[in-house]
Each structure stands twice: as structure tokens, then as C-alpha cells.
């Protein structure tokens, strides 16, 4: 297997995932951030949107100057139809700054043969993308339904020479499997003394004393919660009309010193407030871990 070391991406501690079809999640120019994540699945399920974005490219469509990462974490039926060639065409049209390799599905309650097949498919696609001298950095996905698969997957991704690895964490956290998953991944990274960055995708809270220094988190909860008028405050989530926060004033670019329940009527402003509050959690966790 060829090993080509990729250039590193400079990622912040929290990367906001946005909803491309909902401009309420487009927080710029009020808030300046260096990177965002756009979900390819969203573009693939809306033909009109796909046509529009492909014509302009992501940067022009969104009017965003920073780093745009394309996420391939999407529903299984869309993954089955996504090929490396198809992804290359999409990358050419959409012009992101980095892209995840096509995702796969590895379920613990499936026969192991199925998860191994999926894993091999994903790793072969990763190799294929890496071999083809892409203009943009490729982000590897760590998957696996067992310890053996997770270790195997991490080792293979390191051999390919990827410098950034991501893993979708939401479902693992819900199934209380995240801790063991992380320890399996970081064991390999430590053993191989790998110089890679990790992205924990889909988690809206930081993990205390995370065993890997170079870690970023990515999620969209700040925007999803704003749709339901939830207001983030001091690391907690409240309905904006809750007595603990309703008369709360905040000087952030979203709230502009308005009361919490007043901001709730403006989903974009509330999303900006929630984003800044959420980022604060990740920043303070980073400082605490130092």
C-alpha cells in the first residue's frame, strides 16, 4: 500500500455543522469562523439545491470564505449509491476545501460479515481517493462494529497516510459505546505514534480528559435546538421561555442585549447565541485539559 502524507488542515476546537438549505444556520458575517461542515447527504436529497450549489460552488453559494469541509455521513440508502467517481464529480462541482471519504455502516447487531464487507468497501474507496492525487485533503472515517474492526480500520487509515480522521459519535454515545470506541482508536494512535488530528462528529459536549490532544468536535445541535426555541446558557439547554433564562440578557452578536424570550422569535439570532455558548464549552474544556 502506498503511503502519501497529506498536508494538515488547521482545525478549530469546534467546527459548526450547518444546514445548507436553512439560511438561519448561516451565522456569518455576524460571527467569523475559520471552518464549517456541510452535509453532502442534504445536497443529494434535493435535486434543485444540488443543481444550484453545483453551478456556483459551495463558497459562492454560501458566501463563506473559510474552510468548507464536506461530510459524507448520510443515510445508508444514499451511501449505497455513492461511488468514488461520483464523489469526485461532486467535489469538482461543489469545490469544498476538504472532504470525508465515503462513509459506511457497521452495525453491531448485523452479522460481522456485513460490517467487514462495509469496512473493506470504505477502506478500498479511501485508498482509491488517496491514490488519485486529489486537490483537497481527504479525511478518513474510523468505523467498526467490534474492537478488532476499529483497530484494523485505524491502522489501515494510518497506512494510507491520512492526517485527519473523523468518527461519527452520536449513535455511539447514545448506545454508551463512545468511551470504548475512543480508547480503541487512541490505543492504536498512541502505539503507532501517529501525528493525526481527530474530529468527533455529532457530539455537542466535550469529553473530559480526552486521551488525544489534537481533537476537534463538530455538531449541529446549536442550530437544531434554535429551531425549537431552546436557549443555551451556562452549559445547559433551556426552553427560551423558562423562568431561569427568559429575562436573561446577553451581549453576543445574536442576542444584542435582548431578553432570551425575545431572541427566540428570531431563529438565526438564537442559533448564533447557541453557537457561541456551545463554543465556550469546548474552549473552556480545552483549557481545563491543558
Amino acid at each position: 500500500m502506498k503511503r502519501r502524507k497529506q498536508s494538515k488542515i488547521d482545525l478549530p476546537s469546534f467546527i459548526p455543522t450547518i444546514e445548507i438549505s436553512d439560511s438561519n444556520s448561516w451565522f456569518w458575517p455576524d460571527v467569523v469562523r475559520t471552518a464549517i461542515i456541510v452535509r453532502l447527504g442534504e445536497i443529494l436529497t434535493d435535486d434543485k439545491l444540488k443543481e444550484e450549489v453545483s453551478g456556483k460552488g459551495l463558497h459562492d453559494y454560501l458566501g463563506f470564505d473559510g474552510h468548507i469541509m464536506l461530510s459524507t455521513v448520510m443515510p445508508d440508502e444514499l451511501l449505497d449509491r455513492l461511488t468514488v467517481d461520483g464523489l469526485k464529480v461532486l467535489i469538482k462541482d461543489l469545490q469544498p476545501d476538504s472532504c470525508m471519504v465515503p462513509d459506511c455502516y457497521t452495525y453491531m447487531d448485523d452479522p460481522q460479515l456485513m460490517s467487514w464487507q462495509q469496512l473493506f468497501k470504505m477502506l478500498n474507496q479511501t485508498q482509491e481517493l488517496s491514490d488519485q492525487d486529489m486537490d483537497i485533503p481527504v479525511i478518513g472515517l474510523v468505523k467498526g462494529a467490534s474492537r478488532k474492526q476499529i483497530i484494523y480500520c485505524t491502522e489501515r487509515l494510518l497506512k494510507v497516510g491520512l492526517t485527519t480522521l473523523a468518527f461519527p459519535a452520536r449513535e455511539l454515545a447514545e448506545a454508551k459505546l463512545l468511551e470504548s470506541f475512543i480508547s480503541n482508536v487512541t490505543d492504536v494512535l498512541q502505539e503507532k505514534r501517529a501525528d493525526v488530528d481527530l474530529i468527533i462528529y455529532g457530539l455537542s459536549y466535550p469529553i473530559r480528559r480526552f486521551p488525544w490532544r489534537k481533537t476537534s468536535y463538530a455538531s449541529m445541535s446549536w442550530h437544531i435546538d434554535s429551531k425549537y426555541a431552546y436557549y443555551y446558557w451556562n452549559g445547559l439547554r433551556y426552553p427560551a421561555g423558562h423562568t431561569s433564562v427568559r429575562f436573561n440578557t446577553c451581549g453576543c452578536p445574536g442576542c444584542k442585549r435582548r431578553l432570551a424570550y425575545q431572541v427566540a422569535s428570531y431563529p438565526r439570532d438564537l442559533a448564533i447565541h447557541n453557537l457561541l455558548e456551545l463554543e465556550e464549552r469546548f474552549t473552556s474544556n480545552e483549557e481545563a485539559d491543558k
Binding site: P75, Y105, Y107, D110
Partner: protein, 296 residues
Amino acid sequence: MGSGDRQQQIEKRFNQGNSHAEHLTPGHGCGKPEGLPIILGNYRIVSAGQGYLVLHNEQELGKYRELLQADENRALFKLEKGMLLEVTPTGTREIFTDEKARVHGIIASDGSLYHNLEQRIYEIKVACKSGELVDMFREDFKKVYDRELHFSIERGKYPKARISYKDAFNDLVAYGARKGEGMWRVPREHLDREGAREWLKMFMAGDGSIGCRRGKARVRFFSKNQEGLEQIRMLLDEEFGIASKLKMRDRTDKMNHSSLEYIVEVSSDEDKVRYITEIGSYKQSHQENIRRALGG
């Protein structure tokens, strides 16, 4: 996507926990409506084999076997464990059936959930003075989880119904009927207007009071769970336009055992009348007070 558990993934995405819709049998709902396809904003409901297919922007959202209600505002599909899928022009969400809302409400007020991992106990229990509420809980639980509860009346104690059933336990915990005293939350996102009414009516029967003095009603909810009562206050306000206030009461006893209790009290006379006419309570003594307050 696709980490963890496939069954969980399917349950979450398609709400039914069954990916093989072609094997589904026809339901007992309203039968196939004549107005198919149903258009609700970007959602389209079409007939598919023995069930129904819900499409969002022409992408398949899921297949469902029973369509319980369909009009120009919303469609309701029957899901598992007392849940319904509500499709409206603005989106979809899972909501409680009336039975599940009552089960959740009574557990929050007069019920408890107890878990012992070593002994594999997942106990759901309701004990209350009013036998009719326990009977109602047993009937609703049977409809939601298809299990019979054990019923007993011990001397000097309230009638109680209990069961150790892991699936139902985990389901109730997932919807906020937490373990421990005063640890519940209102499952606001899963309650439509009907569900909210049933939940409040049942909670009122357990931990509320509707009094009548000089022909005037007094409507209050009690709990040690300040957060939960705050959610009740908001539910009353948002769903029924009933204004109420959250108060605190110190119930420290003579032995100096400190205990704080919170109360949500419906404020104005107009709102009290609205509460007792639109919501009410399942407790017989409350219903008598309501009749007296309304001059019946």
C-alpha cells in the same frame, strides 16, 4: 451513518423498528382513505402495498401500516409502543397516544421507576389512593405495552399496580419519566394538544388539587420537582393559554426535616374556569369539585 445498533437506527429514522414494510399486515385504523395521495406541504403520502409511503421532497421517509387520521392539516400514523407519527406541512414528529400520555402522566405524579442491574429488575409501579386511577393505568399500560400489570392492595397501603419489564422501562425513561423522586420531565415535544390534555389531566389526578370554596375553584399542581413544574407552567401557557404562577412552600416539619415543595397555581378566575372546562382531572373528588364550581 450507521454505527451502534441497526435496530435502533431504523427505529429512530423510520419510527417503527421494522424495515420490512412489505411484510406488514393491513391495520385497524380508518382504512385506506379515498383522497390518496395526501399532500401536506413538501410531504406526500401515497398507498404502497398494504401500507403507506411517506415522501418528503419525493425522497422516501418511511413506510407505515396504519393511517389513523388524515386531513388538510395533518396525518397520523400508528407506531409502536403508544406512539404516533404526526406529519404536518411543516414537519414530522413522534407524539404520544392518549393512553401513553396518561401512563407517563401518572408515573410522573404517583408512580416510580426502579432499576437494579444486578438483579435485573426494571420495575414500573403506580400506587395511589384512588383505585380508579390504578385501574385506568392498568388498562392504558396494556394498550401501550401489551402487558398485564400485577395488582395488589396491602393492608394499610394504597392500591398498587406494578411490573418489571425492561422494554417499557427503557421506553419510559427515554421519554423523561426518570428514575427517582421528583426526577420527571414533561415530554413536551411529544405532546400534541390532546396528548397535553391527557398528560395534565392524569398528573392533576395524582399530584394536583382542584378545590372549590364559596363557588370558586382553586387549581394547583404540587411537586418537589421545580424544573418539572416549570415545564407544566409553560405547557399550560403555550398549549391552552392558561396563565399560572410557580411558588415555593417550605414544608419543614417539627423534627426540622427540611423539605421544599413547589406549586403551580392557575392565577385568574377566567383561567381557572378555562382549566376545569378544557382540561380537568381524572380523580373523582376533583370532578365533584369541578361540578360544584361550575354550579352543577
